[in-house]
Each structure stands twice: as structure tokens, then as C-alpha cells.
């Protein structure tokens, strides 16, 4: 068992520094070549230069969204793994992201999104919550790998069917193409509006999840033990599931479905936090932000008419990783 002796504050500081470095790199990458420092100065002094506009209206919101979405997905993955006591849990793998995406697609392309800003995140959150509860009912009873995988398969089938329905009734070919692209997940062409939708909800989700750190730690011993330790399992679980749903729903509402962040990051960071589920949530938020900022930089290197979608990159990374994890945990498959 890999065990790395490093203190929690050290892990946090290293991740923070890495995020800042990645953020600097992210602000420097993009189609246009702008002097970043000069542009910052322009924003500060209120000068309407091209650089200031690109930086202020395009790159900074995009960077912030990468951080918000990455952090939320990372933390949600860690929370789900802790809750299900299973390293294969992830909002994407288990269909929570697609549930949210289905909710979002419904309002996006069938009118309601235009009437008020809150329709989109609400629908995504409801979609996430419904699929999360379903997954929990299917997989939460046993912590076996098999039950979890089967829950994931079932959820994929359900959300796949629902999304197919949405595509089927798409008002036009163009709308259909839009839905497909949107589902792939991307942070391109996002604005401050998106940040202001995602950030407050994501923060609520983070706080709800982090407030249950102790419960997740104790849950390492099993549900009976948490009850005997004085936790109200229903309440604790409810708060966690709600936090995950709000966070994932808010992110999916602005970015589409970006998968596997919640699978990869907690797995990589677990040895650094002594396998403690509570601390893993916070570390995974930082790690998730870092990974998504980096992935978004990578996406922007392929500068072409057809944008490479961020969700495609994370899936390309995550798919093989998932396979590797399944092979690694095979022995626990009873």
C-alpha cells in the first residue's frame, strides 16, 4: 500500500502553488497573442485595449470556470467515493453528470432557459439529484464493486435513453448538433454570466460537502459504526448527496458534462492524505481545479476551426484510467 509521509498543510500548499502556476499559463494561452501583464494593467487602469478585453472578458472567466468546475467535480468524486466506500465512484461514471446534463438539455433546447436564468442550474441540479439518489439506492446498500458498476451501467442506460429522447425531439438539425456539442463539455465562449451562476451554487455545494468531513471519516468503519458513534446517518447522507448534486448540477449547467475528474483526482491524491476521506475532499478540490485548468490549456493548443472539447480530453484521459483502476481493484470484486 502506497503511503507517503507528507503533512496535510504541505499537500495543500503544493497544490495551491501548482494551481497559481497553471493559472498563469492558462492566461497566457489562447488564439490571440496578447501581453498579459500589460493587459492586466489596462484592466486596472480602465483602459479599453484589445488585450484587456480578451483577458477580462474571455480568459479570466474561462480560467475561473475551469477552477470552479474542476474543484467541484474533484470534491464531488471524493465525496461519492467516501460515501459509497468505493474508489470507482465518480459523478461521471455513475451517471450523475449525465443526469444533470439531461436536465440542462431539457431547458436549454426546449425554451425555458431563456425565460429566467435560474431554470438552467435548477434543472441540472434536479437531474443530478435524481440520478444521485437512484445510484445511491442501487449501489449504496453494498459497498461491492460489482453493485457499483452495475448501478453505473443502469444509470448510463437510463440517461442515455433520456438524452436520446431529447435528441429525437430536437426542434431542428442545428439544435441537435448543438445538444451533442454541448454534451461533450467545454469551457470555450463562457462569460462572467456563467461564473456568476456557477460560483455561488458551487460554494454552497462545497460547504455542504466539507461540513460532512467527519462523517465521511467515520464512515470508513461502516454505517453501523457511524450510527453507534452518534451520527444521524440519514441526515448526514442527505446533506452530502444534496451538496454533491448542487455542485455537480451547477457545474454541468455552465460547462456540459466533463467526466472522470472526480475519478482520477481523488485516486491520485489519496495516498497523500493518509487515505482519510474527509481531507481527501479538500485536497481533491484543489487537485481537480489544477487538472481541469491544465486540460483546458491543452485543449487550446489545438487551434483549429473545430474546437477540441474539454470533456473529450478528460474522457480520453479518464477512460483508460478507469480501466486500470478496475483491473487494480479486481481482487475486491466479491
Amino acid at each position: 500500500m502506497l503511503q507517503i509521509n507528507i503533512s496535510f498543510p504541505q499537500v495543500v500548499i503544493i497544490l495551491f502553488i501548482a494551481i497559481i502556476a497553471a493559472a498563469a499559463l492558462a492566461l497566457n494561452s489562447g488564439a490571440a497573442d496578447i501581453p498579459v501583464l500589460q493587459s492586466f494593467a489596462d484592466i486596472w487602469s480602465g483602459e479599453q485595449s484589445l488585450g484587456a478585453t480578451i483577458l477580462g472578458q474571455i480568459r479570466i472567466p474561462r480560467l475561473l470556470l475551469a477552477i470552479i468546475v474542476g474543484a467541484t467535480l474533484g470534491m464531488a468524486g471524493a465525496a461519492m467515493q467516501g460515501l459509497l466506500r468505493n474508489p470507482l465512484a465518480d459523478p461521471g461514471v455513475l451517471g450523475v453528470t449525465s443526469g444533470a446534463a439531461f436536465g440542462a438539455v431539457c431547458v436549454l433546447y426546449f425554451g425555458a432557459a431563456a425565460t429566467a436564468w435560474y431554470w438552467l442550474p435548477s434543472a441540472a441540479i434536479i437531474g443530478a439529484l435524481l440520478s444521485l439518489v437512484l445510484v445511491y439506492l442501487l449501489a449504496g446498500l453494498h459497498s461491492s464493486m460489482l453493485a457499483l458498476i452495475l448501478a453505473g451501467v443502469a444509470m448510463s442506460a437510463i440517461t442515455g435513453a433520456l438524452i436520446a429522447v431529447a435528441l429525437n425531439f430536437a426542434p431542428s438539425l442545428y439544435a441537435m448538433q448543438e445538444i451533442v456539442f454541448w454534451l461533450m463539455g467545454s469551457l470555450a465562449n463562457r462569460h462572467w454570466d456563467h461564473v456568476s451562476i456557477a460560483l455561488p451554487l458551487a460554494i454552497i455545494g462545497w460547504l455542504l460537502m466539507l461540513s460532512r468531513s467527519r462523517f465521511l471519516d467515520a464512515l470508513s468503519l461502516g454505517e453501523e459504526s457511524t450510527r453507534s458513534l452518534g451520527f444521524n446517518n440519514h441526515r448526514e447522507r442527505g446533506i452530502l448527496l444534496f451538496g454533491i448534486a448542487i455542485g455537480v448540477g451547477a457545474c454541468v449547467a455552465v460547462s456540459g458534462s466533463i467526466g472522470f475528474i472526480g475519478l482520477i483526482v481523488p485516486h491520485l491524491l489519496r495516498p497523500f492524505v493518509g487515505y482519510r476521506p474527509g481531507r481527501l475532499m479538500f485536497a481533491s478540490a484543489l487537485g481537480g481545479a489544477l487538472l481541469l485548468v491544465l486540460a483546458d490549456i491543452l485543449v487550446r493548443q489545438f487551434d483549429s476551426a473545430r474546437e477540441l472539447k474539454l470533456g473529450v480530453v478528460t474522457s480520453l484521459l479518464g477512460g483508460p484510467f478507469f480501466l486500470l483502476l478496475i483491473l487494480k481493484t479486481r481482487s475486491r470484486w466479491a
Binding site: D217, S228, F231
Partner: protein, 265 residues
């Protein structure tokens, strides 16, 4: 000073139409190590879980009383209040993650944690003490999944001790352990009772039960059929009727020795 007691009164419990517990009365008082014995399926685990507040009985009450709460229904305690007094050690508690020993032991402090604060000085002391009495100090950095069965069970007991409960309910704490670790676990439980705590442990090893317990409670098909000193409970008649075995029972100065001989058909 009020003594701490946990008392089950006329507890009945059925599952899927089968009567698991039938009007069971059992009072556990501080200073006692009580062995709950009986054949498989007699209702030992159910009684323990009901007394731990983890399962609601179909009828009957559980009372918990100490200095601050004289004769109060267990259900009227908040989960946290209950957990500060009463701890439960399940039969099989397999940690889901490869935690370090001291972190796992620290989980036992959960009933005392205040929201939004780190580990207090008292938490640290309690964890330290739990590691010390269970002789786990040298293993504190070890990963629990690499421990032997005996070491793991001791770690889980240390987790219980860390919560500083008065009453410990343990479900087969020495099952699947080698004799050395069985003795070690029983010594630790007996010590807890000697220091003013109370322990109720479901046990299968009758000789060890007789040797360490101040009192034995014999369950048979959900009924308590004997309750008293080991020597009064472990009679050849009881063993024959309840366990369906004929056994050799020898009372010696250093305890009772029971050797099962054959099944009685």
C-alpha cells in the same frame, strides 16, 4: 453518586415473522463484565444492537441512567449524547480505506467533536491513552489493512476506548482470534469493567467467558434462561438443553473449564 446502568426491559423483537427476542430483561451495571452466551441464532446480536440503540425493539424499553440522566429512555438521548456514554463494537468492522492505526483510533472521538474545530487536547490525550492500554503505540503508524486479525481487533477496541464510553457493548469481540489475542482482548475488557466501566460481550468461548466474566447471561431462542455467576449458569443441564451438547464442566480455583464432548440428539 448514581451508578451507570443500561437496562433492557421486556424487550421483544421479531423479524420476518420469526421471534428473535422474547421478553428479554437484562440490566448491565457499572463494574461488571457480562458475557452474553447462547447458541447461534439465539438472539445475542439482536439484543446487543437493540441495547446499543441501533435497532428499535417491537416492544419493551431500554433505559440508560447515569449521574446526569437518572432512568432515561435510550431513545430520548440524542445520538451524540448516547455515543458519549455507550459504545458498540460490531462483529465485523472492516475499514474501507487503508488508514493509519492512530487515525482509525481517532475516529472514536467523533461523539466529542465540536463542529468547526480541530482535535482538542482532550482528544489527543484520549487517543494516546487508548493506544497505550491496547499496547498499540508501536503500531500507530501502521496501515490497518496490513495488521493481523488480532491487531486489527485490538485497534477497533482502541477506537472504542478513545471515545471514553462508560458502557461497551461488544459483539463477539474474540471470534476468529488466536488464544493469545483472545486473552488479551478479554483482559482489556475486564480491565475496563474493573475501572468502573460496564461491558456486555457476546461470546462463544464458554471457558473464556466463565474465566473473565463476573456474570453470564444465557440466551435461548430469544429468552433469557439463566442469568448469574458463571458457575450457576454453565451447568451441565443448561448446556444440554440450550446448546444440545453434553459437556465436561470442571470448576477449579482459577475458573471453570468446559470441554464439549458430544452432541445430544
Amino acid at each position: 453518586m448514581m451508578t451507570t446502568t443500561l437496562s433492557a426491559q421486556q424487550v421483544s423483537f421479531a423479524r420476518d415473522g420469526n421471534l428473535i427476542l422474547d421478553n428479554a430483561d437484562l440490566t448491565l451495571t457499572q463494574g461488571e463484565l457480562v458475557g452474553l452466551i447462547g447458541p447461534n441464532g439465539a438472539g445475542k446480536s439482536s439484543l446487543l444492537r437493540i441495547m446499543a440503540g441501533l435497532q428499535q425493539p417491537d416492544s419493551g424499553q431500554i433505559y440508560l441512567s447515569n449521574e446526569t440522566h437518572p432512568q432515561k429512555l435510550l431513545n430520548d438521548f440524542s445520538g451524540r449524547e448516547r455515543a458519549q456514554v455507550l459504545a458498540y463494537l460490531p462483529q465485523q468492522e472492516t475499514p474501507a480505506w487503508p488508514l493509519q492505526v492512530e487515525h482509525l483510533v481517532g475516529l472514536g472521538r467523533a461523539p466529542w467533536h465540536k463542529p468547526m474545530s480541530g482535535k482538542s487536547e482532550r482528544d489527543k490525550q484520549a487517543i494516546e491513552r487508548a493506544l497505550e492500554i491496547t499496547e498499540l503505540q508501536s503500531l500507530r503508524q501502521r496501515i490497518v489493512t496490513t495488521l493481523s486479525g488480532g491487531e486489527l481487533q485490538r485497534t477497533l477496541l482502541a477506537r472504542v476506548f478513545a471515545g471514553e464510553p462508560n458502557i461497551i457493548l461488544a459483539d463477539e469481540p474474540i471470534a476468529a482470534l488466536d488464544p493469545y489475542h483472545q486473552l488479551h482482548m478479554m483482559e482489556l475488557l475486564a480491565e475496563h469493567a474493573q475501572q468502573g466501566g460496564a461491558v456486555l460481550a457476546a461470546l462463544h468461548d464458554l471457558s473464556l467467558a466463565a474465566r473473565f466474566c463476573s456474570r453470564l447471561v444465557l440466551l435461548h431462542r430469544g429468552k433469557i434462561v439463566a442469568d448469574g455467576q458463571p458457575i450457576e449458569v454453565l451447568t451441565t443441564e443448561n448446556l444440554e438443553q440450550v446448546y444440545g451438547i453434553s459437556a465436561y464442566v470442571d470448576c477449579r480455583d482459577d475458573g471453570v473449564v468446559i470441554i464439549p464432548r458430544k452432541r445430544v440428539v
